[in-house]
Structure formats: structure tokens, C-alpha cells
């Protein structure tokens, strides 16, 4: 699957300050029975978002009309637990392009990047001021500039790290398989 090219993004945010959000919360196992990649957004954060009878839970941020946008701002250690890529698919399918947190689990970070979702790791301080800003103004806009590796809101700016190869992939909409296929000969040599 090649991914969409990642372009300059200016958008409001959805705050989720919970820490240690694991992939079982992002998409519970009972929704992993599909054989295609589509439609997982519907069940993103299913058990926090809907009651057992399917009623939207008003307190949960995805059910609050005042919050919307393409950036999910999440608490520390986001995406721990199961390797299910369905978690990244659900986030992507729901419409998020970026997840901001002060710490990401490894496998989730890879899965997100492989689906054109950019995980941005910021300092704990930056994260808490961003949460405060969103609390003050629900429509708080952020600018994500992948080219410059910069996340900006109001006049606060922070640079973030990304591996140059991965950055290239995102900006151009390439994925690892495109890259690896071109290395077939080298791989065959290695096998000898």
C-alpha cells in the first residue's frame, strides 16, 4: 500500500491526556476479525467512545463536538501493547494524520509511519502546555511542517526528530516495500 504524501498541515486538535493508552483501547480485539484494512475508524476507542449498548459516551472527547481536527494529542507512552496495525489503521481511517505525545511505544510508531500517520514526540513540558492551550481554546490550531520538522502553535514552536529515510518516504508517499523490492539482488546475494 503506498501512502498519501504528507503535506504541510494546519489543523485543530483532539486532546486525550490519558497515559499508557494501549492498542487494545485504540481498537479492541473483537474488531480485528476483518480481512481488509478499511472501516476501522468506526471502532476507534470503541469502549471509551460507546457504552455496551452502543450509546455514545458524552464525556469522551471524540463525542464532543467542540473538538475536531487531524492531530491527536495524547498522554505519555501512547500505543503500548499489542502489535496490531489495526490501531494505526483505525487512527488513519478516523482522519488523524498526526499523533503528538511525549513518548511512543516502538511497534506503534513503526505501524503509524507505515500508514502515513506521523508520530511526533515532544517534551513533557511542551505537551502539557499544548494541552493547556487546547483547554483554553478548543479550536486551537497547530501547524505541522514535516519538511522543517517543526510543530507550532501560537508562537510556541518545537522541532521534532524523524529518521531521514522515513521522512523521505512520508513526503513522497513511498513505503518500505517499494524500497526493498529494488534491493532484491542484494538480498539474493546475501542468501548465498
Amino acid at each position: 500500500m503506498s501512502v498519501d504524501k504528507f503535506t504541510l498541515l494546519k489543523t485543530s486538535c483532539v486532546p486525550l491526556p490519558n497515559e499508557n493508552v494501549d492498542t487494545d483501547q485504540i481498537i479492541p480485539a473483537r474488531f480485528l476479525k476483518a480481512t481488509s484494512r478499511e472501516g476501522f475508524g468506526e471502532n476507534l476507542f470503541r469502549d471509551w467512545r460507546f457504552s455496551s449498548s452502543g450509546e455514545p459516551i458524552k464525556d469522551f472527547v471524540l463525542n464532543q463536538a467542540e473538538y475536531s481536527g487531524k492531530v491527536l494529542v495524547a498522554g505519555k507512552n501512547f500505543g503500548s501493547g499489542s502489535s496490531r496495525e489495526h490501531a494505526a489503521w483505525a487512527i488513519h481511517d478516523y482522519g488523524f494524520k498526526v499523533v503528538v505525545s511525549s513518548f511512543f511505544a516502538d511497534i506503534f510508531r513503526n505501524n503509524a509511519l507505515n500508514n502515513g500517520v506521523l508520530p511526533i514526540q515532544v517534551s513533557a513540558d511542551f505537551l502539557s502546555s499544548l494541552f493547556n492551550a487546547i483547554e483554553k481554546d478548543n479550536a486551537q490550531k497547530v501547524i505541522v511542517d514535516l519538511e522543517k520538522q517543526e510543530l507550532t502553535y501560537n508562537n510556541e514552536s518545537c522541532s521534532f526528530e524523524i529518521n531521514p529515510y522515513k521522512k523521505d518516504c512520508l513526503l513522497n508517499g513511498f513505503d518500505d516495500i517499494d524500497y526493498l523490492i529494488n534491493k532484491k539482488e542484494k538480498i539474493q546475494d546475501f542468501e548465498k
Binding site: M1, D24, K33, A34, S80, N111, I187
Partner: protein, 487 residues
């Protein structure tokens, strides 16, 4: 200064390459570096994968992605499939009643046939949980690189393999090229010296370590477990320890192979035989961290400090000795208080309270953490001569057909039945509750699996992670009980 000799079979003649290195290297480096096809400038390594394990849940989209690109599986002989996550644990001879689960299992079968991948389907004598099957069939070997679309692939590290979980895009990548692109993780060594006390098992050791490091404590690292307490574990115990590495965020965990490893492997179906065995053995014996090898981080613990462990919260790092109390408000850093409170509200437990004596409704023995024969033996040894409490629902689920068969042959099934337990059929079962084995909302489950996340064992379920002995003690008393009371 150490001199290393690496050799490689090339056109069936052995070529020796000598390297003189100034630096002592770690076990992890030795295995990883030997599999790097290319280092991408400013990017990850292209790592060759020796063995790829697949199951029904994380592979269908990888197969269809591959097809959409017009590609075939590049090295089908390096791939092994087994359906496990989604299968019922009773009446496996009947068609799976849940339509979506059935479709997934059938899709795996069709994909494997099309791509000439060996599959241990439902009812096949080798079927079972992917991480139980690999070692048991001798697919898992020291020095290998192994991946699977499942985070507990770290289990195979018990043999001195570099094994880790991957996402579905990466499964597709391995199908297409037998390689993966990953940046090399940092290295951590966790040493546990001393002797584990009576009633304290590998599961307690790993829950203890995770409680010390926290759920994100090893993120970015590959862990090597060392020390006399680790060395004295059986292969089953080592697998339990490596299995849980991911629960502290580690990319994987591994243990240097030794006589225990070779003993376990000898004669397994896919293990090398005869001369090939001798050759491999010579290589496997070189797989250990050199004296003076440097790790990015080191921890050491004493085995004597570990008692039977239990978790009280909603991540595996929230564990404690079974006789201890849940931390009191004053003992918790302010920044962590909100998430701990939220977690305890979910569990309906109070800060500072004792866990011993708390009511239990369900007991689950199984999973790739504790679904091996040794675990069933431990459980049976404790319940022998006692009765299951009527109000408890217990699921005893073997990790594989082979474990099931062995439990029957060893007479463990009779012991279990005499105490009111029945042995189910193999699969992941209540570990992730994709099949019918779900713990109802609000109910408490003492579980030998690896995750106590909200809803992991069914929406609203409350999970207490523990060892097979602690699970057994709960099953015959109906409450959280110190298993040492029965030893």
C-alpha cells in the same frame, strides 16, 4: 582484545573469515549484525529474516496487499502458519460458528495454499499458539532472526534468537522480500542472580521485573536476560520471561543458549540432525555476550526478593508481591496519580488496600505466556486433592495440540477432572477474548496470560495477572490466595 571467527556455508564449502575486533560484543549484536543486508544511510537496517510465523488475524491484509502489488511470497519455505487467535477452544472438529472468525481462518488456509506455505490448521497435530508451536517443532533456533505479526514473538528469544513482533505492513514486507527495515535498538541487560524461593516461578520473575521498570521502561531497547536465576530456568520458564519483554516496552528479549537449550532442541522435528547438528552446535556455542560487552543500560535484581506476584491495575507494570498492598496515595508521584486512580476505579480497588482475599470469578490458565506443559503440571500439582470452587469459571487451555496430548498422556487431565476442571482445546482463548471465552463486564479473572488492559479479556473485564500456581490457588479458594499456603 578478542578474536572472532565467523564462518558461512557458501556453495557447500566452508569459508572462514577472520575478524579482529577491539570491542567485545553482545549476544544481540552478534545475531543482528549477521543478518544486516544493508544499512540505509540515515535510516534503518535491512535485516534478513530467517523465520516468519503467521496467523489468521494479522496476515490477511498483508496477503491482499502483496497481491495488489502483483507479488508472490518470496521465500514460502521460511514461513509457517497456524490459526490460533480466533479459534474456539471446544468442538474444534465442527465448522467455526462465528462467521467472521471462520472467514479469517479460511482466508489463512486459502492464502497458504496459494503461496505454498506450510500451515498447521485446526485439528492438525502441530496446531496451537504460534509462539508455542515454533519452539516445540524446532523451528525456533539460536542465532536466528524471527518475526511474527504478534508482539509476543519475543518468546523465541529464549533460544538466543532475535525475535520481535511486527505490524501487518511489515508482514507484507517479509512476504515480499524476506527482509524488514528497522533501526537497530539499544541494548539492555537485566541480571537476576540467586535462587527463586519455593512457589516463585518464571512468571513471578518477569512480573517483578516489569513492576520495577514500568510499562515503558524498556522502550527502545532489546533486552538480554542473564544471571544465575535466569540460567537455572527451564526452557519453558525462559520462554515465559522473554515472552513478557514487550510488556515493559522492549522490542524483544533474549537469553544466551546453553546446555538447557540444546537439550530441549535435540531431536525436535525441524531441528538440524547428524552432522548438521554438530556444525550448528559449534556455532550456537559462540552465541553469548563477551566479557566486557557494553550495554546501553543495565539492571540487576536478586531472586530472593521476589515473591509470588499479582497485578492490581490495568497495565502489566502495576504488579506487586501477593502479600503486599496497593500503593497508598502518599507513595505515588503526583504526576502518576490520575492514571493510577483511573485504573483502580476501573478495577474497583482502593489505594492502599490488600489484594489477598479479594473475590475472583474466573481463572484462566493458558496463552503463549503460560500454556505449556510445565504450566499445566504446576496448576495440576496444586489443585490435586482439592476442589474447584463452584462459583469459579475456569478455562484450562493448552498452548498447542502437542501440549494437550502430553497432558493426557501424563495423566494430568485426570488430576484436573478429579478436582472439577476440564482441559479445553488449544488457542489464544481468553488471553485476548476474540473467541467465545470472554470474561463478563465487572468480573474478576486471575489469568496466567500477559495483559491486564481494560477490556482485554472481554469488554469491562478485570484481569489480575499471575503465575499458574497463583491461578490454581484462586480456583480452589475463590479468592486471591498465596499459593505458598498450599505447598
Amino acid at each position: 582484545m578478542t578474536l572472532y571467527i565467523y564462518y558461512k556455508l557458501r556453495n557447500s564449502k566452508i569459508e572462514f573469515t577472520k575478524y579482529t575486533t577491539l570491542k567485545a560484543t553482545t549476544l544481540f549484536d552478534k545475531v543482528w549484525d549477521a543478518h544486516v543486508v544493508e544499512h540505509v544511510e540515515g535510516g534503518p537496517d535491512i535485516v534478513y529474516i530467517d523465520k516468519h510465523l503467521i496467523h489468521e488475524v494479522t496476515s490477511p491484509q498483508a496477503f491482499s496487499g502483496l497481491e495488489a502489488r502483483g507479488l508472490k511470497v518470496f521465500r514460502p519455505e521460511r514461513t509457517i502458519a497456524t490459526p490460533d487467535h480466533n479459534v474456539p477452544t471446544v468442538n474444534q472438529h465442527l465448522p467455526i460458528s462465528d462467521e467472521q472468525s471462520r472467514t479469517q481462518v479460511e482466508t489463512l488456509k486459502a492464502n497458504c495454499e496459494k503461496n505454498k506455505i506450510e500451515m498447521y490448521g485446526l485439528n492438525h497435530p502441530n496446531n496451537g499458539i504460534v509462539h508455542v508451536v515454533g519452539p516445540e517443532q524446532g523451528h525456533t533456533q539460536p542465532g536466528m532472526t524471527m518475526v511474527c505479526g504478534d508482539s509476543h514473538t519475543s518468546t523465541h528469544g529464549a533460544f538466543g534468537a532475535v525475535a520481535f513482533g511486527i505490524g501487518t505492513s511489515e508482514v507484507e514486507m517479509v512476504f515480499a522480500t524476506q527482509c524488514i527495515m528497522q533501526s537497530k535498538p539499544m541494548k539492555m541487560r537485566i541480571t537476576v542472580d540467586g535462587e527463586l524461593s519455593k512457589g516463585v516461578s518464571a512468571k513471578d520473575l518477569t512480573l517483578y521485573v516489569i513492576a520495577q521498570l514500568g510499562t515503558g521502561g524498556a522502550t527502545g531497547y532489546f533486552v538480554e536476560y542473564a544471571g544465575s536465576a535466569v540460567r537455572s530456568l527451564t526452557m519453558e520458564g525462559r520462554m515465559t520471561v522473554c515472552n513478557m519483554s514487550i510488556e515493559m516496552g522492549a522490542r524483544g528479549g533474549m537469553i544466551a543458549p546453553d546446555e538447557t537449550t540444546f537439550e530441549y532442541m535435540k531431536g525436535r522435528t525441524h531441528a538440524p540432525k547428524g552432522e548438521a547438528w554438530e556444525e550448528k552446535l559449534a556455532y550456537w556455542k559462540t552465541l553469548k555476550s563477551d566479557d566486557g560487552a557494553e550495554f546501553d543500560k543495565e539492571y540487576s535484581f536478586k531472586a530472593e526478593d521476589i515473591e509470588p506476584m499479582i497485578t492490581y491495575g490495568t497495565n502489566p507494570g502495576m504488579g506487586m508481591g501477593i502479600t503486599q498492598s496497593i500503593p497508598a496515595e502518599a507513595d505515588i508521584p503526583v504526576s502518576e496519580l490520575p492514571s493510577i486512580k483511573q485504573s483502580l476505579a476501573y478495577m474497583d480497588y482502593q489505594l492502599g488496600s490488600q489484594i489477598l482475599g479479594k473475590k475472583v470469578d474466573y481463572v484462566f490458565l493458558g496463552s503463549c505466556t503460560n500454556g505449556r506443559i510445565e504450566d499445566i503440571r504446576a496448576f495440576a500439582s496444586l489443585v490435586k486433592g482439592h476442589k474447584k470452587v463452584d462459583a469459579i469459571t475456569a478455562w484450562i487451555v493448552p498452548g498447542s495440540k502437542k501440549v494437550e496430548k502430553q497432558a493426557i498422556e501424563e495423566g494430568l487431565v485426570e488430576v484436573l477432572e478429579a478436582s472439577g476442571f476440564e482441559l479445553r482445546q488449544p488457542g489464544c482463548s481468553a488471553c485476548l477474548a476474540m473467541n467465545e471465552d470472554k470474561v463478563p463486564a465487572g468480573k474478576y479473572s486471575v489469568s496466567t496470560s500477559n495483559r491486564n488492559f481494560e477490556g482485554r479479556q472481554g469488554p469491562g473485564s478485570r484481569t489480575l495477572l499471575a503465575s499458574p500456581l497463583t491461578a490454581a490457588a484462586a480456583a480452589i479458594t475463590g479468592v486471591v490466595t498465596d499459593p505458598r499456603d498450599f505447598l
